[in-house]
Amino acid sequence: MSIVLEIRGLRLVRGAREILCGVDFEVKRGEMAALMGLSGSGKTTVLRVVAGLEDSFEGAVTAEKVGMVFQFHYLFEHLSALANVMLAPIHVLGIGSAQAQARAQGLLDQLGVGHRAQALPRELSGGEAQRVAIARALAVDPPLLLLDEPTASLDPARQKELGKTLRGLAAQGRTLLFTSHDDDFVGDYATRVLVLAEGRVVEEGEPRKVLSKPQHEATRKLLQVEPSRRRAKS
């Protein structure tokens, strides 16, 4: 399978702190890769580097065109949900506004928020805003979709819906890379997990295997952080 994202020797220093010190991994087409790690381990920074939002890093990052869904969505506050999705196709891709609107509406429908097309971002619930943000990212048709903590603000039912949605996107040939704290979600939906600690990938593999038999100290620590949620589900 073809490689959509390849990261080699990624180092990033912010001030006196070395946030990433030699990250290596790759993501293949159709994968749903999960980046796990404790807070501050640099998960979000990796996504930002891939998205082109960080200027000063060392190493090689080769990625196809990416779309990104931020943890706090960052929908354009002054535009309706529909206009948020239409804006880039019209002004970046040069698609006619009628066609862009039809496609935007189609994406919103597909993500289950078609009925909220005319709402402003501040009128949307967290889950709705996330779906609009996914639609906005997909509107420019990126082969690689990055999602930062997509499960953070969702209740278990919504998480399940999101998991299905993401799986559907992967089935369409899209590649996904997301960060998460939630080992249940990762175990259920990711095709591969990468554990980030001390600025590098310390463990990776098939999610259920890694999460049930962690090999690295950092992975074990990570799984101890949220035992209550695991118990609640099992």
């Binding site: 082109g52 929908l75 506050e77």
Partner: protein
């Protein structure tokens, strides 16, 4: 009177000497206070000074408002023109369709307003007696109508001017006191008459080179009419306040239109320039930023009045801007600095997340500004902008110093004419409110509309 060239803190002039004469006769030491020429009567009524004299004209309105002395000087209203126009412009009729300057609130101004209808002359009103003549030299006006004393002084200052000797009208200078202080006025009358009799007044007038043959007969008339000061001066003809109000109201409305037009155009300029400056300060290189910051600080750190003078008079050597254009530029350039600060902080208030989300979607920097950052910043800037527009509407009254007759200036003329600020002040305030209140309303409606979804 004017400042003493050898000691600018000292006032000199024939008025000063007459004041000193009166003071010494009264056994007092003169202390000079400066008040606005256009509101002399109001200052007298308020009690800002005991005795007012400084080329104060004898008019019926003035005699109705304050206590006025016997006239101590008879002047002629004369036309001053550029030396080259000496033959061409000899009378008001010769000045058909042209601009003629004078001091606001004077007999000369009234003459010009009347002549304006007859000869299509535009009367240009100034607040001081120096700039009418400098603007005459610059070609902003084609003649100045003021009394012979001021005209002679201007000829001494500006060699290129010529004052016609023939007077268009006669008038008199008087000393004024508060209306209830007729006792002091009577004392002043007595002192002035004595000074006329014993030649002390004549020697002062001769010293300052303003003695004319008219004075001989004038003094004789004043002395003959002893006990009846009015007989020697202009007879008062009381006019009804309401009648004056009705006469003035259309001109107040007209002036309000000037205020509104000027404010709207100046604001448009300020917004346009403000956007450019703010964009430059947010996106520009270090040199651009330094230059724009310097501009903003310079403009915000100096009085708008000074800036207006610089644009109108200071730049006159390079470019002679018409008064309205200078006012528009002065206000617009000034407010641009304030607007730019509003836009800059609004641009910076748009969250980083919005910008990053735009960049990942592939928008170019200018598209981010035009489609996302700009519109969001504009919504943030709307309230302070509305505020500024209302402030500008009121600050536009400052342009009267550039001879633009807007609402406040017109009100001042009106008030000077009827000798009261009550009705003019109320009308003026009502007109300003009529202009500013709808603005606030409009801004609130826009804000409300932006709360509703759009699909642009």
């Amino acid at each position: 009177m004017e400042a003493d060239p050898s000691d600018p803190s000292k006032l000199v002039g024939f008025d000063v000497e007459i004041a000193e004469l009166i003071a010494s006769e009264l056994g007092r030491t003169p202390r000079f206070v400066q008040v606005a020429f256009a509101s002399l009567d109001q200052s007298a009524i308020r009690g800002d000074f005991d005795i007012g004299l400084c080329g104060i004209e004898d008019t019926p309105q003035r005699r109705a408002a304050v206590a006025a002395s016997v006239p101590y000087y008879e002047f002629r209203e004369v036309l001053t023109v550029r030396s080259a126009d000496r033959e061409r412009f000899q009378s008001l009729a010769d000045l058909h369709g042209r601009r003629v300057a004078t001091l606001g609130g004077t007999i000369a101004y009234e003459i010009l307003v009347k002549a304006g209808q007859e000869h299509e002359i535009t009367a240009v009103s100034y607040d001081d007696d120096v700039h009418p003549y400098t603007d005459l030299l610059l070609g902003r006006v084609d003649a100045v109508l003021l009394d012979n004393v001021l005209a002679d002084r201007s000829m001494r200052r500006n060699p290129g001017l010529y004052a016609h000797a023939e007077g268009l009208a006669h008038g008199h200078y008087v000393v004024i006191t508060a209306p209830e202080n007729t006792e002091l006025r009577d004392q002043v009358d007595e002192i002035l008459r004595r000074a006329m009799q014993d030649g002390r007044l004549e020697s002062i007038l001769r010293k300052w080179d303003i003695w004319t043959e008219d004075q001989t007969s004038h003094h004789a008339r004043v002395l003959a009419a002893a006990g009846d000061p009015l007989a020697a001066g202009t007879a008062p003809a009381p006019t009804s306040v309401w009648k004056t109000t009705v006469t003035y109201f259309p001109s107040l409305l007209q002036a309000a239109v000037v205020t509104l037009l000027l404010s709207c155009l100046a604001m448009a300029l300020a917004v346009l320039l403000g956007v450019v400056i703010a964009t430059g300060r947010v996106y520009g290189g270090p040199l651009t930023r330094a230059f724009l910051t310097a501009y903003v600080e310079l403009v915000r750190g100096t009085p708008v009045l000074l800036q207006l003078f610089v644009v109108y008079y200071g730049l006159a050597a390079v470019v002679r801007l018409p008064a309205f254009v200078a006012a528009l530029l002065g206000l617009g350039l000034n407010y641009a600095a304030y607007e730019s600060e509003i836009y800059r902080s609004a641009l910076e208030a748009v969250s980083k997340g919005q910008l990053e989300a735009s960049r990942i979607l592939g928008f170019r920097e200018w598209q981010v500004l035009r489609l996302i950052r700009g519109p969001q910043a504009f919504r943030l800037a709307l309230a302070p902008m509305t505020n500024d527009f209302v402030a500008l509407l009121k600050d536009s009254s400052l342009v009267s110093v550039l001879t633009v007759v807007e609402l406040t200036k017109r009100t001042q003329i009106f008030a000077a004419n009827i000798g009261s600020w009550v009705i003019p002040g109320a009308l003026c305030a009502a007109l300003y409110l009529l202009m500013s209140l709808p603005l606030g309303h409009l801004a609130r409606r826009l804000e409300a509309r932006w709360k509703a979804p759009t699909t642009s």
